[in-house]
Symmetry: C2
Subunit: 544 residues, 2 copies
């Protein structure tokens, strides 16, 4: 027996039309090279409707991939809606990719057009000869002075919009499983792999950004997404803001800590989100700005150190809200909320709880399993296992079958590659990436936990722990340490510091000082680079 | 091109397993005839698993209808999950139905079993001979002394559970469009009609009870649903609470204002929900109780008078949160939130805003249209039209095709029968039911607005306005007024009072005093009864 409910597909046109109809008076602000642009949702919606016509005029296929190579701006948001609402597929290209990755991705996705901010054109154009499928480059003039090549494939965004009639009527996408957007994983190994979001997954994920025990986006919010719109759709914030009717402030090209702080203060931002590196860089500026409007600082992309979260709690009066996920999980999979069983915990214990990755979001199912045997592990906060994920916004495979399915279990769950423990209430705590675990004498050492302990030393700015081959123990950890400016510390002092904090057999076999931890294109520690650098390292057997 | 997301159906087993896995330590309290029962979600979940086995043992069909005739209790909540999670269809029977309606509904739905609270057995049992499909009656002993007939069809709930092994493993419903629950509309005209909720609609609606600009259910909440679980699934609160991990307090059979107030205070309830009548009855008790934990008083089922909402704001410090909807809309369609454009409004203007039905919930689309021509009306807060609704939890037809589809438009939207204006920000304001409008001289008079103005008179307890036939104007309004205990007022005094408050041609042609406004089984004004009573009424032509 079937239910007798209307067959209304869960599609992004709902997000667009809801915003247009209910929130036309709300504003979107974009910081530019020369000042700020402010546009009402009503005017923005007309531009989306014009852009829909432009995509037709350019001859983009019915499900053609629409590439973007853009900062966070209201015009990027126009593309976010116009592409999927007309059945095309938004493909956000990461502006920090290495040229060969960029070319690989655009060709692999078969992008038909790339919309590019003028300030980013110099990054894109040198590769243009290698793009095999792109027929048009549409330059969005963001006030930058970058020269525009004389090439028939190049169009001006504003000229195209001015010449286009706004699409009339309601956008309609019949099949909620149709592709809406795609994003390639940065992939520290192998080629980048494409994750293809459906309308259904994008809409459901947007709803999740509204739930009270999560980001709780509201019509009253003013949201500044620092997280780039080419990172898993800026964690769903753009679509979530439109669905909730929140005001949005886009930072544009100037991503310096001072520029972000100024925007937060000027626009009385209530919710902002970005990776830990961004928030670390802003700490020195927090005392000088009135940030009293902020109610939530969303932090994700990599584990949030307790000290960072506590610094914000001390200075802003609001702790960070940590969320965990990845491109393959749309990305929100967990949110580190403070639940009622913690009500009588000390501030310090709550800070520890916030440093965990937290609880599965509604509709998301998670489990931990032995990475080798697949055996499910208990939720006792002691057993570790790879997090596996299931849910309507979790990927089931990569675009064009890349990766051969090895990242998915036989019963269809995503193998995230992240290793965690889970407490009995369901709070997840990352301990490592499966590939970064150090397997010493048959036991696992968590490189991440060791890094956190080293970074607790007051003279240490950053630390990365990698495994090096070892004759007796198979692998042993070594620590690569960046010392804070103006400070100094010796290897022995770090080992002494660790002695009371970790098991003796966890002590690194060596401490190497480096100038900086190499990062991937999305700002994560590139341990691959460190492993290459220290691959031939020889240490004596530890005396453990 | 299709998205590459996991094919995870949106089904109620997710709600069950999420609650079981994450919130096992949370409590459900039920007030009983003799005290209070408290059960952990973990223990409750085992009982749901036993109940799943019981449904098999009783031989209930794979999609058999499972009737309930119960108060709001944790055992009713067991049925809420066990029936749909095993593929059956929960059918909540309204305990306030007249016997012939009850029999009609149970037969029409083809209920195979009815679970009945012992205290309600005397209401049910006299009709048992007329039930054509019910094979089993399972009595839930709630401590009442009602005699249990000696009949082989009767079973004891606890005995069945004790004898059943808990279902092991995960519940699974493959098709999210499968029926999960059904509820019959009270239907002031014609036979009651069945609305059949799907797993998809029930799960999406549950999510909506979690969004910040709505009820915003959270793990920190303690929720007391006063609204009966046989009214459109208690407005989605039971499933929403399980999804959010909120604690629940069920009032059981004692629905007196004092009993409710006592429960609210004792359990530090944060969110409660019910119809205006309930909250009116509680006003005299508010001063005597510590209700400082309450953050939201959800009110719906009929329009919420401004005076009622303001009384709560004054006494509790929190205004009522009005929601509008109906059985056919699952029921949440609008929520009367205070949006940011009202931030600088006066308290009185905000109170007026709260007395409106408010803004469409995410995923719900609403429009107003002329009830006769179907022409869509503008959102200028002046034009009126029947509200039409579309969305994934809006009914597309009634069970077994009842009503012949006349309640649905050609393009598949639900005709709600409610007439409203909409302001330019999308806030809906009910003015009447289509069938209650008074059509005088080609113009509409809103019976509801007229009633509200009459009820503003200090001596008036309740007022109902109905149309009576009129030779010249086709229809004219008359007012049926209930005077407050210990007060007195004349017809002329009421007309004088109205003179400055409504247009002259709106003034009722007569004011009749009655002892009480007749109510339907769900507590709404039964204007049908009044129209029957005053059908032959003759009045002189007004001098307008």
């Amino acid at each position: 027996m079937l239910g007798l409910m209307q067959d209304r597909p869960l599609t992004l046109p709902h997000v667009f039309h809801r915003a247009e109809q209910l929130f036309g008076h709300k504003k979107i602000v974009t910081a530019t090279a020369t000042g700020q642009d402010t546009i009402s949702i009503a005017d923005w919606a007309v531009r989306v409707r014009r852009l829909a016509t432009v995509l037709d005029t350019l001859g983009i296929g019915a499900d053609g991939r629409v590439g973007t190579f853009c900062w966070n701006t209201s015009r990027h948001l126009e593309l976010y809606l116009a592409a999927p609402c007309t059945g095309r597929v938004l493909h956000t290209l990461n502006i920090r990719l290495f040229p060969e990755q960029l070319v690989y991705i655009a060709n692999h996705a078969e992008d038909e057009v790339v919309f590019v901010d003028r300030s980013l054109l110099p990054l894109l154009w040198p590769n243009v000869a290698k793009f095999e499928t792109v027929k048009h480059f549409v330059v969005i003039d963001d006030g930058a002075s970058a020269e525009i090549p004389d090439d028939p494939r190049i169009h001006d965004y504003e000229e195209l919009l001015a010449a286009a009639e706004p699409f009339a009527g309601r956008f309609s996408v019949d099949d909620e499983n149709r592709a809406a957007a795609m994003c390639y994983t940065s992939g520290t190994t192998g080629n980048p792999k494409g994750v293809v979001y459906s309308h259904r997954s994008a809409l459901l994920h947007s709803l999740i950004t509204l739930v009270a025990d999560g980001i709780a986006l509201s019509e009253h919010d003013v949201v500044l997404p620092v997280v780039p719109m080419f990172h898993a759709n800026a964690w769903g914030l753009p679509y979530g803001c439109l669905l909730a009717g929140a005001s949005v402030v886009f930072p544009g090209p100037n991503m310096t800590p001072q520029a972000i702080v100024d925007l937060l203060a000027e626009h009385k931002v209530t919710v902002t989100g970005g990776v830990p590196t961004i928030w670390m860089g802003m700490i020195p500026l927090l005392d000088g700005a009135d940030l009293s409007s902020i109610r939530s600082v969303l932090c994700g992309g990599s584990a949030v150190p307790k000290s960072l979260s506590e610094a914000y709690r001390e200075k802003l009066g609001v702790p960070m809200l940590q969320a965990w996920g990845m491109t393959e999980t749309s990305p929100i999979a967990t949110v580190s909320s403070i639940n009622s069983h913690m009500d009588d915990w000390s501030d310090d214990a709550k800070a520890d709880a916030r440093a965990r990755q937290g609880f599965p979001a509604p509709l998301v199912e998670l489990r931990i399993a032995d990475p080798d045997t697949g055996e499910e592990q208990p939720w006792d906060d002691s057993a570790t296992g790879e997090i596996q994920a299931a849910g309507p916004w979790i990927a089931k495979e990569y675009y064009r079958g890349e990766g051969g399915g090895e990242q998915y279990t036989a019963d269809g769950w995503l193998r995230t590659g992240d290793v965690a423990t889970v407490d009995r209430h369901g709070s997840f705590r990352l301990v490592d990436r499966t590939k970064d675990l150090v397997k010493s004498g048959g036991e696992w050492i968590s490189s991440v936990e060791l890094e956190n302990e080293i970074m607790a030393h007051p003279a240490v700015a950053e630390a990365a722990v990698i495994a090096i081959p070892h004759e007796k123990w198979v692998e042993r950890p070594i620590a690569c340490v960046v010392v804070k400016d103006g400070q100094s510390v010796t290897a022995q002092e770090i080992l002494d510091f660790l002695e009371s904090r970790v098991a003796k057999w966890w002590l690194p076999d060596a401490v190497e000082f480096i100038d900086e931890v190499p990062k991937t294109s999305v700002g994560k520690f590139s341990k691959k680079t460190l492993r290459e650098k220290f691959g031939g390292y020889q240490v004596a057997a530890p005396d453990a």
